[in-house]
């Protein structure tokens, strides 16, 4: 029997990896993947709690979140393609038309 805290620690580590990835990476595709890792870490927390509390709600929420992530991927990848067509790069460092 794996304790709930083990799942939570794993999820928090995953979330941390995602956050660090968003903050340091320069490639938009990798940046987007980091965000997906963060979302899946949150899903893991939901499933861990759902199992520990013996509730089905968390599982259902995970399915909803998967849908949200899919919709986000559709919009996000379309935008990355749009940027690539105009600039021929997906590097966020080049995004300095306006100062940050």
């Amino acid at each position: 029997m794996v304790p709930t805290s083990a799942y939570l620690i794993l999820a928090i580590i995953l979330f941390g990896i995602g956050t660090v990835g968003v903050l340091i990476t320069r490639n938009m595709i990798v940046l987007f993947m980091s965000i997906e890792i963060m979302l899946n870490a949150a899903n893991m927390v939901l499933i861990a709690f759902s199992k520990a509390l013996n509730l089905v709600d968390g599982h259902v929420i995970v399915f909803l979140v998967l849908t949200i992530a899919a919709a986000e991927a559709a919009v996000g990848l379309a935008m990355i393609v749009m940027v690539y067509r105009n600039r021929e790069t997906v590097n966020v460092d080049r995004f300095s038309l306006m100062k940050w």
Binding site: I35, A42, N43, F49, D57, E72, V75, M82, L97, W100
Partner: protein, 485 residues
């Protein structure tokens, strides 16, 4: 465990306005396919919004929950729904001619606006955290596309992608927060969280989960309302996005995020005693940084972006106050801010229909000679943003700060008032440049279409009219606090 089947009361009258908007959006998708029908799109969108507004006004006084408690319809939600729809109507009136001049006049624009408004309504009219998250996404996804709507413009591309990355990043925090709250409370329904709140808080493990959940949810919404450590995306997105879209960004999604914050923190988590301190600190940071950075901008759009950050700071004073007084002051402020901020961005939109206009301060010289009425209206909005009487901006700040004084937050009030003094400088700089500066270049005239005149007249009359007779709106915002969460 609640037996969901028995409480699944399906009552469509709670969601008539949303249904109207969804039907409108799908009709519009059909219209968009036909080249002959496509020019009808703006009018169809306006018609949909007016129908929806009528249904919202019909709902006034309704108190109810349905769909397994996923939808809550109270006067708080109805008030915010009305704000979203009015903001959308003004935005569409402003957008038509602007989109034509930029060559991006496509019916998708209106479809995205409609869907985004449905998302805002869904997130406001619920007491369930998961529905709030889904509403937030339904609101945000069309907005990311709208920010990058001018596909050929590199700036608009940049705005869209930055907004998307920041928004997705924030929603990951929000989701993790909701997951922790679910772990603590065994439910995501705020009404049930409230009843067991003090028990959960003082229980060792669930207390930790609950607090970390609340912090993460606050970070997630902090990005959406542009509270200060999370504000860095705002100026770029506001500058790069098409200007009517910026006008919409600065009011409607922000109002929706504040509505949810009020529902979660002032009513759901009111048992947390540290909230006042936390919100006070964020309010001070947000309004000071917003105002100080706005001082050194040379672009009117960027200045308005920083000013919208500082206004978020003022609204957070109301969150710090909490309770019914805080909520009604926040609603009053949000409703009035919607009007004059839309108006200010509206004037910028009109000026940007000239080719090659970048909205720098220097481009405003000669505005009062070429368009005296437009210059006067612009000045009126600037006075309202700065909080001068008799505009509604003054009363908004007045109710906000008097609520803060009643809650014994004297130092917060002093800092807030000092901030409004600082902000006078950059708002009046617009007035000075457009009325008193001279230059050799003649001001190239802009075309004022009837739709634009109507939008500016609506916002100007609201700014001045509610400023002279604030009691109606005050009574509405006081009535809007009941029935929460």
């Amino acid at each position: 465990m609640v037996d969901y089947v028995s409480t699944l009361s399906i009552d469509f009258s709670l969601i008539y306005p949303e249904i109207a908007l969804i039907i409108g959006a799908f009709l519009m998708l059909g219209v968009a396919c036909s080249r002959r029908l496509a020019p009808m799109a703006p009018n169809l969108a306006l018609l949909t919004y007016v129908v929806s507004l009528y249904l919202i006004l019909n709902q006034w006084g309704l108190q109810g929950a349905g769909f397994a408690d996923m939808v809550v319809c109270d006067s708080f939600a109805i008030m915010f729904k009305a704000i979203f729809v009015v903001a959308s109507i003004v935005t569409i009136l402003l957008a038509q001619y602007y989109l034509k001049t930029k060559g991006i006049d496509r019916p998708e624009f209106y479809v995205l606006m409609l869907i985004s408004t449905v998302g805002m309504m869904a997130m406001t009219a619920t007491a369930d955290l998961v529905v709030m998250l889904i509403g937030l996404e339904v609101m945000s996804l069309p907005l990311y596309v709208l920010a990058g709507f001018n596909r050929r413009s590199l700036k608009s591309n940049e705005a869209g992608v930055k907004y998307f990355m920041m928004g997705a990043f924030a929603s990951a925090f929000l989701l993790l927060g909701i997951a922790f709250i679910f772990g603590a409370a065994e439910t995501t329904n705020l009404r049930r969280i409230v009843t067991d709140f003090s028990y959960l808080l003082h229980h060792q493990t669930s207390g930790i989960y609950l607090i970390s959940g609340a912090v993460l949810v606050f970070i997630g919404f902090g990005f959406k309302i542009a509270a200060v450590p999370f504000h860095s995306w705002v100026p770029d997105v506001y500058e790069g996005a098409p200007t009517p879209v910026t006008a919409f960004f600065s009011v409607a999604p922000k109002a929706a995020a504040f509505a949810v914050l009020l529902r979660i923190f002032v009513f759901g988590f009111s048992g947390l005693s540290e909230l006042t301190t936390v919100f006070s600190v964020f309010a001070v940071l947000t309004m000071s940084v917003g105002n100080i950075l706005a001082l050194r901008q040379d672009n009117v759009k960027r200045m308005l972006a920083y000013s919208s950050i500082s206004h978020a700071g003022y609204i957070m004073v109301a969150l710090a106050v909490g309770g019914p007084e805080g909520v009604s002051a926040a609603i009053f402020y949000i409703a009035s801010y919607t009007m004059f901020n839309l108006g200010a961005f509206g004037v910028v939109t009109v000026l940007e229909t000239r080719s090659g206009c970048q909205s720098d301060y220097s481009e405003l010289t000669g505005l009062s000679k070429a368009h005296p009425y437009l210059a006067c209206v612009f000045a009126l909005f600037m006075f309202a943003l700065a909080g001068f009487p008799p505009t509604v901006g003054f009363f908004g700040k007045f109710y906000l700060f008097s609520a803060a004084i009643q809650a014994n937050l004297i130092w917060l009030t002093i800092i807030g008032v000092m901030n409004s003094f600082v902000s006078v400088y950059f708002y009046l700089r617009v007035v000075k440049v457009s009325f008193f500066d001279t230059s050799e270049k003649t001001f190239s005239k802009v075309r004022l279409t009837p739709a634009i005149v109507l939008a500016l007249a609506l916002t100007a009359i609201a700014t001045l009219g509610i400023g002279l007779f604030p009691h109606q709106l005050l009574r509405l915002s006081q009535a809007a606090i009941f029935g929460l969460p």
